[in-house]
Amino acid sequence: MEKEQYQQLEQQVTPKPPYLKNIVKAFFVGGIICTIGQAVSLFYMTFFNFTEQTAGNPTVATMVFFAMILTGLGLYKKIGQFGGAGSAVPVTGFGNAVISAAIEHKSEGYVLGVGGNLFKLAGSVVLFGVVSAFFVALIKYILVTLGVVSW
């Protein structure tokens, strides 16, 4: 059998991802995580001195804390298998990426293992977040200086 012929056979045999099922699961899992986030930020706004604008920060930190517990207990990977992007896209997924790498590389010590591999998975998010923010802000600065837009 030739390569091309085999690739056709492979296309026929391989099941497509269950698009609709995955979308529904991602929507609900992601929605629930964000609703929990909403409850957390409401908690910070009610009992602490936070406003709608500033409650985001402690909320994110708290969600990452939840991610640590779930990752450590081995539950986050099960949520991830079910929810797909629903649990990967929220900041808990970012936390899971950092924390799972930290736990995994503990066996190589805290400096070379945990320290060296903490951002093994999440590093690209930090890289592209920072670089894109830099260019977006730079472009905006240039546009403001030229008088095209205002801050």
Binding site: M1, K3, Q5, Y6, Q7, L9, E10, V13, T14, P15, P17, N22, T71, G72, G74, Y76, K77, K78, I79, G80, Q81, G83, G84, A85, S87, A88, G93, N96, A97, I99, S100, A101, I103, E104, H105, S107, L121
Partner: protein, 331 residues
């Protein structure tokens, strides 16, 4: 390349040790020991991996009543970088050792070398086999075990198991190795590390086909043709390739796959089991015992291996694969 053994070296004993999850395997009743701890009470997964290899080898030697000082060669490998678990186990076993890497096909390539050494008269007893440990393999090839990435239905689950066979001179009452095929490295342009069955199926096809051709045998001359770890989709593809080449449907039922059957039809394991320990554990427990019991008289064991590394697929390379086969007969 097909080798025909004149002296037909025998499998004197098999030793198979598996992890706690492998209790759920359909083959678990044939395993010699199952650990309650996936790390074998060691600090790291890699140390547990080493301990598992040691235990499997010791069981094989004990069954045959052979001491490690009497064993001439230890041939084996695993999937971890530079094969440290097997290297370190060899240090503890203190047997002349060569590490072999054919990915998951090491379970058979090691037995081929051991049979050649036996045929040459250089070895009275050799231990050959392979192993894999889920956590250690996953973190190296894919993600940390606790990372919540969604696995597609094409993915396979690396088993925690070690399977070793003690190879010695021919004995009429034991399963004996009559012929072997060393496979070529086949690359059909598959590049998805979560779809290894599709990458490996063409290698299995080529090896089986050239083995049958050179041996002048047909499918029905075998009681069973068992591939190592193609998984449900890989097995389907292999059968599809044979159907295309004119093999009849009823003959295709002679082909089975250890990885497909390893965990039953459990969806949690997606397309099935994989890993060097998968084929090794099934070949040197279930098949060995079935042949001793006279259930099978002639089987072809085809271990498949995907020769990739995380580096190679990140650099955009496709996945080259190989398959090695041994023909085992029982009088």
């Amino acid at each position: 390349m097909v080798i025909i053994f004149q002296t037909k070296p025998s499998i004197l004993a098999g030793g198979v040790v598996a992890g706690p999850l492998e209790k759920r395997s359909t083959f678990s009743q044939y395993f010699d020991a199952i650990s309650e701890d996936e790390r074998w009470q060691m600090k790291t997964n890699e140390q547990g991996h080493r301990k598992m290899i040691q235990e499997a080898c010791e069981i094989a030697m004990k069954k045959a009543g052979v001491k490690n000082l009497e064993v001439d060669f230890f041939l084996g490998g695993d999937l971890i970088n530079q094969m440290t678990p097997t290297n370190f186990a060899a240090r503890e076993l203190a047997i002349s050792f060569i590490g072999l890497f054919s990915a998951c096909a090491t379970s058979v390539s090691s037995v081929i070398i051991a049979s050649l050494l036996t045929e040459l008269g250089a070895s009275n007893f050799s231990i050959a086999g392979a192993s894999s440990q889920h956590n250690a393999v996953e973190r190296q090839f894919r993600y940390p075990v606790n990372y919540g990435a969604q696995k597609p239905a094409t993915a396979q689950w690396t088993v925690t198991a070690a399977g070793f066979a003690l190879i010695g001179k021919h004995n009429d009452n034991l399963p004996s190795i009559e012929a072997a095929t060393i496979g070529k490295v086949i690359d059909f342009g598959m590049d998805d590390p979560f779809h290894m069955g599709a990458a490996m199926a063409p290698a299995a096809f080529q090896t089986i086909q050239s083995h049958l051709e050179k041996r002048k045998q047909k499918f029905y001359n075998y009681d069973l043709i068992l591939t190592g770890d193609l998984g449900q989709l890989g097995l389907k593809l292999l059968k599809g390739m044979f159907a295309e080449s004119g093999v009849k449907q009823e003959e295709l039922t002679l082909i089975r796959d250890a990885g497909t059957e390893f965990y039953g039809q459990d969806e949690a394991f997606q397309s099935g089991a994989s890993g060097a320990g998968c084929s090794a554990a099934v070949f040197y427990s279930y098949i060995d015992q079935m042949m001793r019991a006279g259930r099978y008289k002639r089987v072809l064991l085809v271990a498949t291996g995907a020769l990739l590394s995380p580096l190679s697929y990140q650099q955009g390379e496709t996945i080259p694969c190989t398959a090695h086969a041994i023909e085992i007969t029982m009088k």
